[in-house]
Structure formats: structure tokens, C-alpha cells
């Protein structure tokens, strides 16, 4: 029998879902094939993110090894590719400790609460033409909503562990996440204005010119904000290995630790995917009809490499400097960018409300000018605010020597 997809299904646009649905529909009743196809997509999503996180952990360790003039893990499997497996087996066989005074339920929820938003984010990102698992018309809003769960998870970890280092890490983490949420949202609004839609599919198809060029300042703010939310240097205050042992996940071990690590590595990939979709024209590129996924993966790879590079290079900021950076630098920049973009869209759009490619190039030119001016002005302002005056002591040594 041939099953027909219902018209109100958000999965309708996904090619893979249709293929599975129709294939299963040949042998099973239509209602059941609906469930089977849905579950299959879920498995692909969850396993895709987890395997990606494992692979990325290997890539990053190899890369950082090279940055350190080391080799990095190369023993287990070709080029050490099976290292994530070995790590996983090791962590799964370790004792899963819960501190005596911990809040057991909250303590156990945390790893899942950390991993879930990472996987959920991936659901709305299109890998190629018509491949987003769910083509939500409020995709951008959905991503913002889902990723902010992480701050709750971090605070739960700190509170439930009953450990002072974890509490330090958690309070830092929440402060950072809440502060950086604001400029991140503000910088995204420019993209939404340009695309005229919150659906990620529409955002990709609106990028005749990559929004990286049209919105350079928003890209910069978003990148800084995202690396703060990812807890990576120079913003890794919540974990701050040299200060807080491991920050909010100090007390986690065994499989819970493995899940938290998977969430952190996976978050880099999903954030890169979001950045690629919003600013680097997603899966589009030459031959994107057939090789959209390759373009998408390539762009993710470039961004992930950049994240690793930054992580290997920069030291960490202090909490007050970090918050000052968010409120005094990134927030004004994102507001200026939003204002400029709104004006440009108002004046350049045609009667139907759409923007031509030539308009986008004009905006790119204006916005680059604005971005450079703002970066220079705010850069000099914040420099003097953050750097403390240098204390000069008088030379009392000559007096001592005379004695």
C-alpha cells in the first residue's frame, strides 16, 4: 500500500524522512511507518552528534598536539582514530561516584541536561538542500531557546555537587551565559532582518552574498559570544582548570563525565553548524545541489579548526573583564549593528520587501566601514577602562645601599 504524508508534518521537507517513510510504508501500516521513520531520524540525529563529538575530540587533541609541538594521540587505530572509543571504554568502566552530600537527583540529571540542548540544536540545521530534520519557521528562536538550557544545567551541577570549586564554577558560568546571551541575540536580529524570516532554510537561501560579508560586526559579536557560551578559552571561566580544578564538573566521574565531555565537544560542532548556516551561507556553494553536505562539513571544519586554534593560543580573562567585555563592548556593537542594518533594509528594499544581490553588496560596503569605525572607537575605550594604571615605586634601594 502507498502511504501519503500528512500536510501538517514539520518533517515533510526532509528528503531522508520521505524516503524512509515510503520505504517502510510498503511493508507496514501507515501509522506505524510514521513512527518508525520518526525514530529513525531521531537515531540519526543523536548518533550523528555523538559520533561527531567523538571524532572532534580526536581532531582537537591532534591539532592541539601539533600546536604544542607534540604528536597527539596516535596509538589506537589508524592515526589514533579509535582514541575516542578507548576513552569511552575507559570512562564507562570507571566507578561512577556521587558525593555523599550531593543532591543525587539533580546531580544525575545534569549530564543529560547538558547533552540534550546540543543534540536538539542540530534538529533545525539544514545539512544540504531539504535535509533539516525539522524545518521550523521559528528556527532561530528555537536555537536560542534550546541553547540557554545549558546555563540551568551548569548551575544545577554546581549546586548539586556540594563542592566549593563547583559552586565557583557554576556561579561564573551562569554570569557569563546570561551576559553573553544578550549580545548574541542582538547580533542575530540583523541576520533575521536581512533574511526576512526566522527559518534557517530561508536564511540560507537569502544568502546570495554570505552574511559574513554583509554583517561583519554581527559575525564578530556572535563568534565571541558563542565561544563564551561554549566555555572555551579565552572565556573558559566556568571550568578554569588552573583555578577551579574542573569548575562545575569537578565531582563528575565515569559515564557522567563522558556525557559532559561529549556535550562540550558536540557543542563546538553544533555552534559551528549554526554559525555556518547563519553567516557562511550554509550548504550553498558550487555544485551544492549534490555536494551541499560537503560544503557544510567543510565550513564546519574550518570553524572548528579556528576554535581549536584560539583555544591553544590565548590565556583566560578574569570574570570582571569578561563581563565588562560583554556589556561595554559587545552589546553596544551589536546594537549599532542592528540599528544600521534596520536603516539599510528600510531604504534599500524594493516594494515587495525583498533585497536584491546588488543591495547586499552595498550593505556589505557600508557595514564594513561601520564595523571598522566601531571596533577602533570601542577598542580604545575599553582598553583604558580594563587595564589598571601601572604603579611606579620610587627607588629606595640607593638609600638601603648607603646604610
Amino acid at each position: 500500500m502507498n502511504c501519503v504524508l500528512g500536510s501538517d508534518n514539520i518533517l515533510n521537507d526532509t528528503v531522508l524522512y520521505r524516503v524512509i517513510y515510503e520505504a517502510v510504508g510498503n511493508v507496514l501500516p501507515c501509522g506505524l511507518s510514521y513512527v518508525v521513520a520518526g525514530l529513525a531520524m531521531m537515531m540519526i540525529l543523536v548518533n550523528g552528534v555523538l559520533v561527531g563529538a567523538g571524532l572532534f575530540s580526536w581532531v582537537e587533541r591532534r591539532l592541539i598536539g601539533r600546536f604544542h609541538n607534540r604528536i597527539g594521540p596516535n596509538r589506537w587505530g589508524p592515526f589514533g582514530l579509535l582514541q575516542p572509543m578507548a576513552d569511552l571504554v575507559k570512562l564507562l568502566t570507571k566507578e561512577d561516584l556521587t558525593p555523599k552530600s550531593a543532591d543525587r537527583l539533580l546531580f544525575a540529571i545534569v549530564p543529560v541536561a547538558m547533552l540534550a540542548p546540543v543534540i536538539l540544536t542540530m534538529a533545525v540545521v539544514p545539512f544540504a538542500k531539504d535535509t533539516a530534520l525539522a524545518n521550523l519557521n521559528v528556527g532561530v528562536l528555537y536555537i536560542l531557546a534550546v541553547t540557554s538550557i545549558t546555563s540551568v544545567a551548569i548551575f544545577m551541577a554546581g549546586w548539586a555537587s556540594d563542592n566549593r570549586y563547583a559552586m565557583f564554577g557554576a556561579s561564573r558560568g551562569v554570569a557569563v551565559l546570561i551576559s553573553y546571551e544578550v549580545p548574541v541575540v542582538m547580533s542575530l536580529l540583523g541576520v533575521v532582518l536581512l533574511a526576512g524570516s526566522m527559518s534557517l532554510d530561508d536564511v540560507v537561501s537569502a544568502q546570495n552574498v554570505p552574511f559574513l560579508l554583509v554583517q561583519p560586526m554581527a559575525f564578530f559579536v556572535f563568534l565571541a559570544g558563542i565561544s563564551a557560551e561554549l566555555n572555551r578559552t579565552p572565556f573558559d571561566l566556568a571550568e578554569a582548570e588552573s583555578e577551579l580544578i574542573a569548575g562545575f564538573h569537578t565531582e563528575y566521574s565515569g559515564v557522567k563525565f563522558a556525557l559532559i565531555q561529549a556535550a562540550e565537544f558536540g557543542a563546538v560542532l553544533t555552534s559551528s553548524a549554526v554559525i555556518v548556516t547563519l553567516f557562511l551561507s550554509g550548504w550553498s556553494g558550487p555544485f551544492s545541489e549534490y555536494f551541499g553536505w560537503a560544503w557544510f562539513l567543510l565550513k564546519i571544519g574550518v570553524l572548528a579548526f579556528m576554535f581549536s586554534w584560539v583555544r591553544a593560543t590565548l590565556p583566560r580573562l578574569r570574570i570582571d573583564q569578561l563581563l565588562a567585555f560583554a556589556w561595554k563592548f559587545l552589546l553596544p556593537l551589536s546594537i549599532i549593528n542592528l540599528f544600521a542594518t534596520a536603516l539599510e533594509v528600510y531604504f534599500l528594499r524594493d516594494d515587495a520587501g525583498t533585497l536584491a544581490t546588488s543591495d547586499l553588496w552595498v550593505m556589505a560596503g557600508i557595514n564594513f566601514g561601520v564595523a571598522f569605525a566601531c571596533l577602533i572607537i570601542f577598542g580604545t575605550l575599553i582598553k583604558e577602562k580594563v587595564r589598571p594604571a601601572r604603579l611606579i615605586t620610587g627607588d629606595t634601594l640607593s638609600a638601603v645601599e648607603a646604610d
Binding site: 592541539i64 600546536f67 604544542h68 609541538n69 607534540r70 566549593r164 570549586y165 565557583f168 578559552t233 579565552p234 573558559d236 571561566l237 578554569a240 582548570e241 588552573s242 583555578e243 577551579l244 580544578i245 583555544r311 591553544a312 593560543t313 590565548l314 590565556p315 583566560r316 580573562l317 578574569r318 570574570i319 570582571d320 573583564q321 580594563v386 587595564r387 589598571p388 594604571a389 601601572r390 604603579l391 611606579i392 615605586t393 620610587g394 627607588d395 629606595t396 634601594l397 638601603v400
Partner: protein, 368 residues
């Protein structure tokens, strides 16, 4: 509703990634800000001074290795100078040059480690540390050629050095000096002028010069506060009187200046090593001393050197026996650590870790 806050006491250490050994700080925090600091040490006490009373003069050299275990060569030197003064032995010229050369190489190795861990505490993911270790590894290879050991060297003896350098040591040293310039420049370019390093360390934990002098602080920590006090210049020992080098000083006394002074000292040390290679001449490497040393009863001596952490000194008293009646170690790390409370109160948790790193303490030397 008023928000109720209360101070929180945290034990940083003895097991903590950034306490540089088994060091414990009992800190009271108001949020992230430090209200009180109480340094607690003694976890690594091994009774070196008492053990020295049970060993003969040559055996004690191995005990000194284990004080500041990242600069054993300089510890050997200080102890040997003290015993030589006790015996009245004149050290041959070649031995003096070899001592100067190895001590400066050891200073480079120690400073590279100090800088590496300081930047590690600042939050870098080990990249500067690994850059430093790359060069340090080559220095340890050179030491291995000299005496077979890499960390606990015991290369120096009262009266000179253990062995002359093997023939293949000199080409290897030349190669090292050639590579080191490139490697060190990479490290400087990576981190010395980094904006985040500047923001995090400038003006933080300032040690005023008068306090530094009153607290008897020495070494790079003192020189970062504005003094140019250096025993290599003020009372040259071994071959330092024939060396042409500068003593880098800074005036800020903050974390950045302590870091900066160490970076500059590495350059000067390499300069000294180059001069040693040029000036050294063939000859004996150890004075004629008996197998068992017996200084005259009632004699005492104070041998001091400018170690990588500061003034390291051994005070040795003899009662005419084969082992000292009493040996006292003046360890720079312990005395530099006495200013911690002044440096830390009022700053934040993150600054505390960095300040400890900038003091470059070594617990093997603090606890003895």
C-alpha cells in the same frame, strides 16, 4: 529584601593543579575577592638539614639536588662553594667555567619552567609551557651527556666538577645555542606582548620595593620591583667576574614585570653561556682533595649564589668530623613566599593563582 552574603573559606591545596607542589592556602573569599590568606606548608618536609649531619661532605651533594629539583645544578654550586670555603680549596679554572656554564643552562631551564607554569596558571592550554619544555628538554640532554642524570644531577663536587665534558658535548651545545634563539623568539612572539596577558597581569599584586627589601625577597621577584641586586654582580663567584652581562630590572613590581624579568634573564644567561664557550681553556677539572673531607674544627662558612629563584645559601659548620656539625639552607622560595599575604589580599581568585605562579616557588625548596 536585602541580599544576605557571607564569606566562604576554601582550602586551595594541598592537592590542586596550580599550587606548584604540595602547598596549601586557606583562603577566605567574599564572592571571588580574597579577604584573608593563610599559607600552610610543610607537606614535603624531608629533613634535609638533619640528614646532612649524618652524611659525609661529598654525599651531601646528592641531598642538595632534591631541594629545588628544577635547578639542581645551582644548588650543587652553592653547597660546593660553601664547602670549598670551609676547606680553603682553590678550584681550577676549567672547573669554574664549567660550573658557570652549567649553572646558567640550569637557570634557563628553570626560568622556562617558571614562565611556562605562570602562563599555564593564566589559562593558556599549555602551549607556552610546551614551547619552553622543548628547549628545556635539550638542556636536560646536554646535562645527560655531562653526568648521566637529567634532573638530580650531582655534577659538581667540592673542589670542582665530577668529570670533564665529553668531546661531543661542545658541538651539541653549539647546536643547542643555535636552535634556542629561534625557539625562544617564537615563545616571545607568542606571548610576551599578548593583550590578554597584559590585561590580566599589569598592576596586579604589586610588590613595593621597600616591602620587598624588608621581607628579604631576592631574585627575579626583587628585581621586578626595581632593585638590581644580583650576587653574580655584587660578589662574583666562579667565573662570573669575567662575564659581560646585564641584570634586567623592572619598576612595576607586578605580575607582568616578574614574568618579563625572567624572560630577559634567559637572554642574559644564554649570553653568559656563549662567553663561557669562547673563554674556556683545557686544564684540570677538580682540585686535589682527599676522598673523605675533614675541615678544621670550629670553622664555618656561608656559600651563596644567585639561584634561579633568588639568593640560595648554605651555612655549614664543621666540628672536625667527616660530616658537618650543622647545615642550614637559606632557600629563596620560602622567603619569597612570606609576602604572599600582602600580594594576594584584595585581589580575585584568578589573580591569586597567577600571583603564585609569578613568584615561581618550588615546594621542594620551601619545605626542605
Amino acid at each position: 529584601m536585602p541580599i544576605h552574603t557571607e564569606p566562604m573559606t576554601v582550602n586551595i591545596g594541598p592537592q590542586h593543579p596550580s599550587t606548584h607542589g604540595v602547598f596549601r592556602l586557606r583562603v577566605t573569599f567574599d564572592g571571588e575577592e580574597i579577604l584573608e590568606v593563610e599559607p600552610i606548608f610543610g607537606y614535603l618536609h624531608r629533613g634535609t638539614e638533619k640528614l646532612a649531619e649524618e652524611r659525609n661532605y661529598t654525599q651531601i651533594v646528592t641531598l642538595t639536588d632534591r631541594l629545588d629539583y628544577v635547578s639542581s645544578m645551582i644548588n650543587n654550586q652553592a653547597y660546593c662553594l660553601a664547602v670549598e670555603e670551609l676547606l680553603g680549596v682553590e678550584v681550577p679554572q676549567r672547573a669554574k667555567y664549567l660550573r658557570t656554564l652549567t649553572a646558567e643552562l640550569q637557570r634557563v631551564a628553570s626560568h622556562l619552567m617558571g614562565i611556562g607554569f605562570f602562563l599555564q596558571d593564566l589559562g593558556t592550554l599549555g602551549t607556552p609551557l610546551m614551547y619552553g619544555f622543548r628547549s628545556r628538554e635539550k638542556i636536560l640532554d646536554l646535562f645527560e651527556m655531562l653526568c648521566g642524570a637529567r634532573i638530580t644531577l650531582s655534577y659538581m663536587r667540592p673542589g670542582g666538577v665530577f668529570f670533564d665534558a665529553p668531546d661531543d658535548f661542545w658541538p651539541a651545545l653549539d647546536q643547542f645555542l643555535e636552535d634556542f634563539d629561534i625557539e625562544f623568539e617564537e615563545l616571545e612572539r607568542l606571548i610576551l606582548e599578548n593583550e590578554i596577558v597584559m590585561v590580566r597581569t599589569r598592576g596586579v599584586s604589586v610588590l613595593p620595593l621597600d616591602l620587598a627589601i624588608n621581607a628579604s625577597v631576592s631574585g627575579p621577584t626583587l628585581r621586578a620591583s626595581g632593585s638590581d641586586w644580583d650576587w653574580r654582580k655584587k660578589a662574583p663567584y666562579d667565573a662570573y667576574d669575567r662575564m659581560d652581562f646585564e641584570v634586567p630590572t623592572a619598576t612595576g613590581g607586578d605580575n607582568y614585570d616578574r614574568f618579563w624579568v625572567r624572560m630577559q634573564e634567559i637572554r642574559q644567561s644564554i649570553r653568559i653561556v656563549r662567553q663561557c664557550v669562547e673563554q674556556i681553556e683545557p686544564g684540570a677539572t677538580r682540585a686535589e682533595v682527599p676522598l673523605i673531607l675533614r675541615p678544621k674544627p670550629g670553622t664555618e662558612s656561608y656559600g651563596r649564589v644567585e639561584a634561579s629563584k633568588g639568593e640560595l645559601a648554605f651555612y655549614v659548620v664543621s666540628d672536625g668530623g667527616i660530616s658537618p656539625y650543622r647545615m642550614k639552607v637559606r632557600s629563596p622560595s620560602l622567603i619569597n613566599l612570606t609576602v604572599t599575604e600582602h600580594l594576594l589580599v584584595g585581589w580575585k581568585l584568578s589573580d591569586m593563582i597567577v600571583t603564585l605562579g609569578s613568584l615561581d616557588i618550588n615546594m621542594g625548596e620551601v619545605d626542605r
